[in-house]
C-alpha cells in the first residue's frame, strides 16, 4: 500500500541527467557518485551497462543545482545575447517622443552605450548596454511596460 519504490508517482527531469552524461562523455569519466542531502546519483559507463542511477528519494532540481560536482554546461544552441531590463518599469526607446531611438537594428553598441530609458517612479533611468555587439532585434515597443530581466534587445 506504500508508495511503490520505482517512483510511479514522480515526474521526471532528464535534462540534468543528460547534462551529467554529456559531462561524463566529455571528460571521459566512467564512474561518478554524487551525494547531496537525501539524494544520491551513481553512474557508471561501460560496455555492459549504459547507466545506472539509483535515486534514493526524489529531490528537486533546485536542491542539486549548486552541486559543485556537476557544473553547468551550456551545450544548448545559443539563443543569442540579449540586453535585459535591469528594473521593472516603462520602456522608452528615445529620450523624447520626437527624438530618434537610442539604438535600432544594425546599431553597434559597447558596454556603456545608452540603449533605452526605463521609467520607474517618475525617474527616467538611462540603461547602458553592458555588453558589446550589433543590435539584431528590438524586442519591445516604445512605451511597453517591462519586468525585471525581460530581454529588450537581441545582440550579435
Amino acid at each position: 500500500m506504500a508508495k511503490s519504490s520505482d517512483g510511479d508517482f514522480d515526474g521526471f527531469d532528464l535534462d540534468r541527467f543528460r547534462k551529467l552524461l554529456q559531462l561524463m562523455e566529455k571528460y571521459g569519466v566512467t564512474e561518478t557518485q554524487l551525494t547531496k542531502g537525501e539524494e544520491s546519483w551513481k553512474v557508471r559507463r561501460g560496455p555492459k551497462q549504459v547507466a545506472e542511477a539509483p535515486v534514493q528519494s526524489p529531490a528537486p532540481v533546485a536542491a542539486i543545482a549548486p552541486t559543485p560536482a556537476a557544473p553547468e554546461v551550456s551545450s544548448v544552441a545559443p539563443v543569442g545575447k540579449t540586453i535585459d531590463a535591469p528594473t521593472v518599469g516603462t520602456f522608452y526607446a528615445a529620450a523624447n517622443p520626437e527624438d530618434k531611438p537610442f539604438v535600432s537594428v544594425g546599431s553597434t553598441v559597447s558596454a556603456d552605450t545608452v540603449v533605452c530609458i526605463i521609467e520607474a517612479m517618475k525617474v527616467f533611468n538611462q540603461i547602458p548596454a553592458e555588453t558589446s555587439g550589433k543590435v539584431v532585434e528590438v524586442l519591445v515597443e516604445n512605451g511597453d511596460p517591462v519586468e525585471f530581466g525581460q530581454p529588450l534587445f537581441r545582440i550579435e
Binding site: 528537486p60 536542491a63 518599469g89
Partner: protein
C-alpha cells in the same frame, strides 16, 4: 471600488489575497522575484510582473520596484500582506502620494503605533493597562535603576524599535540590569539603527492573547474576538486558536473592549491586532499593535465567518463595515498550526528543497492555506512556512481531535518539517488543558 489591486507579497498570503480579490470581482496584479518565477499561484492572478532577483532586499522590499509595478499594472491599490513592507509607514505614504491606496492603516497611525513608547502612551491615554515600566525611553543608568526599584525586579529591557526578541533582556537585579541595558541598547542599535530602550515589569509565564480589530473610515470599530498564541518558540508563534481557552468571560470582554478603546484612540483604520499578555491571575497588559493582517487571521475567520482580507479591501475603498459589534459571533473553536520547512532535530534550521510528495488532509472543518503543491520547491530565500492548517469544530476538544486526525494524514516528503513537533504539542496535556504560556515550548522541548 478598486478595479485592480497590486499584491506586494509572495507565497500563501499572496494567494490568499488573489482569492479574496477574485471573490470581490477585483483584478489582481502579482509581483514576483526570479526565485518565485513559475510558481503556480502566480497563474491565478490576472497579471504578474517580475520585480527583481531572489533576495527580498532586491525585490519584495524595493519600494521603487513595487511602485513601478503598480504603475505599469495600472492598479488603484496595493495590498502589502504581512511581513516585507506591510508595517512600513514610509511605503504606505509613498503609495498614497502616488495616488495608489495602501490597503492598511493611515501611515501616521502606523508610525505612532510602530514606536513602542508612543504606543504605550496611546494605550495609557485610552485607559488600557500596560505592563508597569518607564514612561518613555531610559536616558541613563541611574534612571533605569530608579524605575526598576519602583516597579520591582525582575524587569524587562526592551528596544523601542524592537521586534522578534531582538534588543530584549531580562534583569533579575541591579547588576544584571546594568549589564543588560548596555547589551540590549547595542543590539538594538545594530538591528534597528535605534538604540532607544525602555523598561517593563517582567511578567512570568505570560499567555499571549491578541484581539482582532476592524475599523472603517467612518469611525466604526469592532473587535472580532481574541486569539491565544501562547504556543511559541523563540517568539515565533506555532499554534494559534480562538477563543482563548480558560479565559473567564468577563476578562475576555474586558480585553476586547480595551482593544477597541485603544484603536479608537489611535485613529486607526483597517484591520489590526492588539496584543496583550495575560498573567496567571488574568491581569492583562497591552504589548503592541500589529498594524496589518496577521499570519493567524484564519482562526478568526473561521469562528466569526468574516473574510478579513475582503474587509481590508472594502475598508480601504471607503466602504462601511457591513456589521456591528452585536453581529459578530464567535462560533465553535478554531485552531491553526503553522507547518514550516524546518528541521526540528536540528535547532529548527530551515530545510528548503522540493516537495516530492504531498498529501493534505481534508474533511469537515479543515482548511489548508498554502501556495505549495507536489513538486513545489521551498526557496531558501524566504520564510520557511509551507502552509497553515486550520481546524474548525463545534468545541475545542473536537478541534484538537480533528487536528490530531489531520496530523496523521499529513504527508510532506522531500523537506524536513515541524510536523513531528506538532504531534507532540497537540498530545501534551498542557495544551489539551489550555495552560500553555509563552515559555512552554522552550521549557518543555
Amino acid at each position: 471600488m478598486f478595479q485592480r489591486i497590486l499584491i506586494a507579497n509572495r507565497g500563501e498570503i499572496a494567494l490568499r489575497i488573489i482569492r479574496a480579490c477574485r471573490e470581490l470581482g477585483i483584478e489582481s496584479v502579482a509581483v514576483f522575484s526570479e526565485a518565485d518565477r513559475g510558481s503556480h499561484y502566480l497563474e491565478l492572478a490576472d497579471e504578474a510582473w517580475c520585480i527583481g532577483p531572489a533576495p527580498a532586499s532586491e525585490s519584495y522590499l524595493l519600494i521603487n520596484n513595487l511602485i513601478s509595478a503598480a504603475e505599469i499594472g495600472n492598479v488603484q491599490a496595493v495590498h502589502p500582506g504581512y511581513g516585507f513592507l506591510s508595517e512600513n509607514a514610509h511605503f504606505a505614504r509613498i503609495c498614497r502620494e502616488c495616488n495608489i491606496e495602501f490597503i492598511g492603516p493611515p501611515h501616521d497611525a502606523m508610525a505612532r503605533l510602530g514606536d513602542k513608547v508612543s504606543a504605550r502612551q496611546i494605550a495609557r491615554s485610552a485607559n488600557v493597562p500596560c505592563v508597569p515600566g518607564s514612561d518613555g525611553l531610559i536616558s541613563d543608568v541611574q534612571e533605569a535603576v530608579r524605575v526598576a526599584s519602583e516597579i520591582g525586579y525582575p524587569v524587562l529591557i526592551k528596544a523601542t524599535a524592537g521586534g522578534g526578541g531582538k534588543g530584549m533582556r531580562v534583569a533579575g537585579n541591579e547588576v544584571s540590569l546594568r549589564a543588560g541595558l548596555q547589551a540590549a541598547s547595542a543590539e538594538a542599535e545594530k538591528a534597528f539603527s535605534n538604540a532607544g530602550v525602555y523598561l517593563e515589569k517582567f511578567v512570568e509565564r505570560p499567555r499571549h492573547v491578541e484581539v482582532q480589530i476592524l475599523a472603517d473610515s467612518h469611525g466604526n470599530v469592532v473587535h472580532l474576538w481574541e486569539r491565544d498564541c501562547s504556543m511559541q518558540r523563540k517568539h515565533q508563534k506555532l499554534i494559534e486558536e480562538s477563543p482563548a481557552p480558560n479565559l473567564p468571560g468577563h476578562i475576555r470582554e474586558k480585553i476586547c473592549d480595551a482593544a477597541v478603546r485603544l484603536i479608537k484612540h489611535a485613529d486607526y483604520q483597517n484591520a489590526g491586532t492588539v496584543e496583550f499578555i495575560v498573567d496567571k491571575d488574568h491581569n492583562f497588559y497591552f504589548i503592541e499593535v500589529n498594524a496589518r493582517i496577521q499570519v493567524e487571521h484564519p482562526v478568526t475567520e473561521m469562528v466569526t465567518g468574516v473574510d478579513l482580507i475582503q474587509q481590508q479591501i472594502l475598508i480601504a475603498a471607503g466602504e462601511k463595515l457591513p456589521f456591528t459589534q452585536a453581529d459578530v459571533p464567535c462560533l465553535g473553536s478554531a485552531i491553526e498550526l503553522r507547518i514550516n520547512a524546518e528541521d526540528p532535530d536540528n535547532e529548527f534550521r530551515g530545510s528548503p528543497g522540493g516537495i516530492s510528495k504531498l498529501r493534505v488532509p481534508g474533511g469537515p472543518g479543515i482548511r489548508f492555506d498554502s501556495h505549495v503543491h507536489e513538486g513545489y520547491t521551498i526557496s531558501p530565500f524566504y520564510d520557511s512556512m509551507i502552509g497553515k492548517l486550520i481546524v474548525h469544530k463545534p468545541s475545542r476538544d473536537e478541534s484538537i481531535a480533528g487536528m490530531k486526525r489531520c496530523l496523521r494524514e499529513f504527508v510532506v516528503d522531500g523537506v524536513k518539517t515541524t510536523l513531528p513537533l506538532a504531534a507532540k504539542m497537540f498530545n501534551h496535556s498542557a495544551f489539551v488543558d489550555g495552560t500553555v504560556d509563552t515559555t512552554f515550548v522552550e521549557r518543555t522541548w
